[in-house]
């Protein structure tokens, strides 16, 4: 009976919080972004399983598709500007190929002929919505793979981190004394470590998989500054009257901690969790960008490849190699951030408008 009531209470609270969350337009936008990327992450395996996509063509790592493109052979002039070309960079145009280039590879052809070749990276087409990279792999499929990596990593590390910091923070507040001192100094220590060089070291003696990194990031985050924040929240809860009344009525310490203090710290912890997903996604991308991770594909690796192959400074000519990956990282991290902000509005009445 009591359980039923509790269930109803929880349902009512959830409903009320949902109504509050819906008020925040940016929070809803963030949720929309997160759901969109979540959908992409789930979609890829489904496409492979239902054979809509052929793994040989669309696999993000080993797939290959040579896109044939017919180009006119032209001879680029020595002097610029000419009638057709303004500067040296304009020749050859997108649908043209320089005859000197063909000669260098011992390919026959005359000016004005049509030359059919593989294009890699191929621009977006019907078959490859976002084109292919320089190895003929589908960019859209890579983006979807990157989604999976980002979600797995972000969520696992956030859950580990928040789990650790909530437990330690509550314990520090509840037991105090030596435990408190120890935990606070420990988080000082973690805060002192420069995290990026630290991750370099870690990656130097262990080939990092996604879940390794998730554990490392989660532990670092969980032992660091968030313990202090959770502790201060727990301290505020600890002095509330209902905790005293639980103590007077003979609740055991552990029971008080788990059934009274933890639930009241939970909203803040949830908030931290959502915000720390943002950080985890960014960290993963940076490490992949620097080539330090032992994973096949992620958004960071896509940008790493684009940069090492020199496509970044071609600017927007090969935009599909540069923009989708960079924007995905930014958007998903931003989406989680906005969800966090929406939750902040729900849990912090002082931020509410009415």
């Amino acid at each position: 009976m009591e359980n039923n009531n509790q269930d109803r209470d929880i349902k009512a609270t959830l409903k009320k919080n949902w109504i509050l969350f819906k008020q925040s337009k940016l929070g809803m936008t963030g949720l929309g972004i997160v759901i969109f990327f979540g959908f992409l992450a789930v979609l890829q395996p489904i496409l492979f399983l239902t054979n809509v996509w052929d793994e040989g063509v669309y696999h993000p790592v080993v797939g290959y598709d040579a896109e044939k493109v017919a180009r006119t052979i032209v001879e680029c002039p020595d002097q610029y500007p000419t009638k057709d070309y303004q500067t040296r960079e304009d020749c050859p145009k997108v649908d043209e190929v320089n005859i000197r280039y063909l000669k260098a590879f011992n390919i026959d052809g005359d000016v004005g002929d049509i030359y059919e070749s593989n294009v890699q990276p191929a621009p977006p087409s019907r078959k490859h919505i976002l084109g292919t990279d320089s190895l003929g792999r589908d960019i859209f499929s890579q983006i979807m793979e990157g989604c999976q990596v980002a979600f797995v990593l972000g969520l696992i590390s956030a859950i580990i981190g928040v789990g650790i910091s909530t437990l330690l923070g509550t314990a520090a507040a509840f037991y105090g004394g030596a435990l408190d001192t120890y935990l606070m100094r420990q988080s000082d220590l973690v805060l002192m470590l420069p995290s990026l060089p630290f991750l370099f070291i870690i990656s130097a003696f262990a080939e990092l998989q996604v879940w390794h990194l998730a554990v490392v990031l989660g532990t670092l985050g969980g032992l660091g500054g968030s313990v202090i924040t959770i502790k201060s929240q727990a301290l505020q809860v600890k002095v509330k009257p209902f905790v005293d009344s639980a103590r007077i009525t003979g609740g055991t310490r552990r029971r008080i901690m788990f059934s009274h203090i933890l639930p009241n710290v939970a909203p803040l912890a949830l908030l931290y969790m959502v915000f720390s997903v943002t950080g985890a996604i960014a960290s993963e991308s940076v490490l992949s960008f620097l080539g330090l991770l032992n994973i096949d594909m992620s958004w960071g690796i896509m940008i790493y490849l684009a940069q090492t192959e020199g496509f970044i400074f071609t600017g927007l000519k090969y935009w599909w190699l540069i923009l989708p990956a960079g924007l995905s990282v930014t958007l998903l991290a931003g989406g989680f951030y906005l969800v966090g902000r929406g939750l902040d509005d729900v849990f912090n009445p002082r931020l509410r408008r009415r």
Binding site: G315, L351, R353
Partner: protein, 390 residues
Amino acid sequence: MLVYTIKRFFEMIIVFFLFLIISYLLFNAIPGNAFSSLLLNPLLPPETYQRTIETFGLDKPLFERIQLYIINFFKGDFGYSYIYYPRTPIELIAERLPRTLMLFSIVNVIAFYTGFLVGKILAWRRGSKSETWITIGSVFSYTVFYPWFALMMLWFFGYKMGWFPLGKFLVPEKWYDSPYSSDEIFYTLILFTTVTSVFLFLIFIFTRNIESLQSRRNSRFVGLIILFIISAIYWSNGEASLQRFYAADIAYHMILPTFTVTLVAFAGTALLTRTTMMEVLKDDYILTARAKGLSQKRIRDRHAARTALLPVVTSFIFTIITIIDGSVLTESIFSWPGMGQLILEAVTREDIPLAMASFSFIGILALIAHFIADISYAFLDPRIRVKVEN
């Protein structure tokens, strides 16, 4: 109070001690060592490797080495860098640090100021259209994938538009016959910037007590102009007029990195300011201020922002430690030879003395930052100031 301080101090020393040991163990755990590459060279006899290892004491057991290192550390002896032998880590840090400091202190001051300003406006214009757009912009720059963004900036402003250099902190051609080393110029620049900001601060402090708002603004303006004239005189006379050319070169190279990092760094402060300020705006004294008929700007700046400043400053000081993190990426993208690159090099090439020295430098910086955070908290909040005084 004193007991607490002493206790805290000892705890800090223990934490630092542990930090040193953990760092050393970490560096040691990396497979191979700084001289492993010697083994790969078939032309060198194998004894060479053995002898090098012995020279640098790497053959001793781990425990002994840690013991030695810590004893020497507290004697002030940091050993020699392996990769830059015979230079010491201190020399190397002294050379690189000013460059990082110069770049990032300017970035941080600008980022903090604009961030605070933007956050203030965000909280104040709550619910308006401009708030939504500024928020979206801030969230974008807060969560943007930084290396990607920096590369895009570099491509656009450096390559496409050609406005700024593509990296490095000077044009070598200009410095061939330079009578100064780049470090000297850096010191001059740092000194100049510091003195100027101190004067700016003084102008601000001294004009604070002027009663009329109008004359306060005017006197600040006059002060700024005088400062500007004085600095113009400084750069056109004596030795500074010779250094001007080189200083300008460095300053020119600083613009793009400064701009890029500021764009990314301001957002954190802005978003935090918004939250704290919105909480403050619900306080009763804001209502009093409105009832008193104060101008919107005054309520915002003097009443709301002043109180909201506290947590923002503390968190800002904490994030100063992350400068080093940021500098690793920034410096490698903009090829800026500062601390970040030094640490990266030391870590990847296992130059233990250099890496240890850099890490302990960061550690000390972090401890000082924590200390400053406490102090500034007390300085800004009279409620705490009184507690400390008693």
